[in-house]
């Protein structure tokens, strides 16, 4: 136990001095839900909360990785350091994954101020992996100024990114769906910035005007009206303008007090998630050990009990003072 504590504090120290191997090891521990992982978070938590976290989401093939690559270059040119967390899906059949986002990011592999980590979803839904937020914390504690979080290729409702990022960029390309798609709920609502990538293709202007129209339909008079930008990430076109908007959004969050709200919400959501998880785990273990769970499940199978009453029964001892 103490041996492990020593190992954990040594890792945390190495992380703070920017040791990339320590960072990589810590991230693996978080991904594997290793017992040392929570001690690591304990150690680094006070050092987090400084980075600007930028989410990049959108359908597969829209150009998220290429944009992340070009944005990384632009942020580096402004003298800031960068972390990239790139999430790709885990196979529901084999548990394996092919993580290929790095293919587009080769220019930065040997830049010591850039740290890139590929993550598999490992069964987690919503566009991110379970450990993504904690991995962002590791890069934050490393001192990375801007952290890009690239989601899996997103459909309509992979919207977890809004809980993980200060600024969410929704990337689209011309010719995907019409103006009805644009006013649907879900991913089209979450963008702080909309990007129509591959805008050298036909129909780009129409896609932009449909997005603009959707945003103009929005009744709320929020101070930040999401801009719609055109890029050709492959040719590095429109990237500078996009970075300007990303930085402007952070200024807006700060000036309007929304950043404080964001932190409040984020802290609460994180705490609630963890509490829920730990509580459920504890109860399942307790009732399994007492052989209660099995009997309840049998009653459920025979339809002698319904799931709501079963949960209520098990909750009763907890609710009594």
């Amino acid at each position: 136990m103490t041996e492990q504590n020593n190992e954990v504090s040594a890792l945390a120290e190495r992380l703070e001095s920017g040791d990339r191997r320590a960072a990589a090891r810590i991230i693996s521990m978080l991904e594997d839900n290793d017992t040392g992982a929570r001690d690591i978070i304990k150690a680094i938590y006070p050092k987090t909360g400084k980075a600007h976290i930028v989410g990049i989401t959108g359908p597969p093939g829209a150009g998220k990785s290429t944009l992340a690559d070009k944005l990384t270059r632009a942020v580096r040119a402004s003298g800031r350091s960068v972390g990239v967390v790139a999430v790709d899906p885990t196979s529901p059949f084999t548990g394996g994954a092919l993580l290929g986002d790095r293919v587009r990011m080769q220019d930065h592999f040997t830049d010591p101020e850039v740290f890139i980590r590929s993550m598999a979803t490992r069964g987690w839904l919503g566009g991110l992996a379970k450990a993504t937020k904690d991995v962002v914390k590791v890069m934050d504690a490393m001192g990375k100024d801007v952290i890009f979080v690239e989601t899996v290729g997103a459909g309509q409702s992979e919207v977890s990114i809004i809980q993980a990022a200060h600024t969410s960029i929704v990337v689209e390309m011309p010719g995907l769906g019409d103006d009805i798609q644009a006013i649907k709920a879900g991913i089209m609502e979450i963008g702080d910035i909309f990007v129509v990538n591959k805008s050298d293709r036909a129909d780009s202007a129409r896609t932009v005007s449909e997005r603009e129209m959707m945003l103009d339909l929005n009744q709320s008079k929020a101070a930040w009206r999401p801009p719609v930008l055109q890029t050709v990430a492959r040719d590095n076109k429109g990237i500078e303008e996009l970075l300007v908007k990303i930085d402007e959004h952070m200024v807006h969050l700060r000036d309007s007090g929304q950043l404080d709200d964001y932190f409040k919400k984020q802290v609460r959501a994180e705490f609630e998630d963890l509490l829920r998880e730990e509580l459920a785990k504890y109860m399942l273990e307790e009732y399994t050990a007492k052989n209660v769970l099995e009997k309840v499940l049998e009653k459920l199978e025979r339809r002698e009990l319904d799931p709501y009453s079963a949960v209520q029964q098990l909750m009763e001892p907890l609710c009594k003072k």
Partner: protein
């Protein structure tokens, strides 16, 4: 939760044929591993830095260019400089038998020529990965 095996599949040097690398990457994926694929034309420095950041257990290099006696020893050297004793390295592609033996003597754990069944590679990696 059992630890996932993470493998980097990389193509060092200048050849542009990555079909073999992709077939192997796919087979490892189907065997439940997390495979990081980085694409063509990688320098040894890029490969080793990626292996560090991704915390992989194993690196698989694919070479068809004939430069394996230059590039693979350079990767091994960089792994040594970075104290990556817990990461194993294998190579696939067109590598003559006698040179395969020389590479193994330098620390490459496996060399796979054309026609190697993918299951053999999967089993080999599962068995050689040094658990951390």
């Amino acid at each position: 939760m059992p630890k996932k095996i993470r493998v980097l599949i990389a193509k060092p040097g200048l050849d542009g044929h990555d079909r073999g690398a992709k077939v192997v990457a796919r087979a490892l994926r189907d065997a439940g591993m997390e495979v990081i694929y980085t694409g063509l034309h990688q320098t040894p420095e890029q490969i080793v830095e990626t292996a560090i950041q991704e915390d992989v257990d194993h690196i698989g290099l694919s070479l068809l260019s004939g430069a394996h006696m230059t590039l693979i020893p350079r990767v091994l050297e960089l792994m040594k400089t970075n104290n990556m004793e817990d990461v194993t390295l294998s190579a696939g592609g067109i590598i003559p038998d006698e040179e395969a033996e020389m590479l193994k003597a330098q620390g490459v754990v496996g060399v796979y020529g054309p026609g190697t069944p993918t299951q053999e590679i999967v089993d080999f990696i599962k068995n050689t990965v040094k658990r951390k």
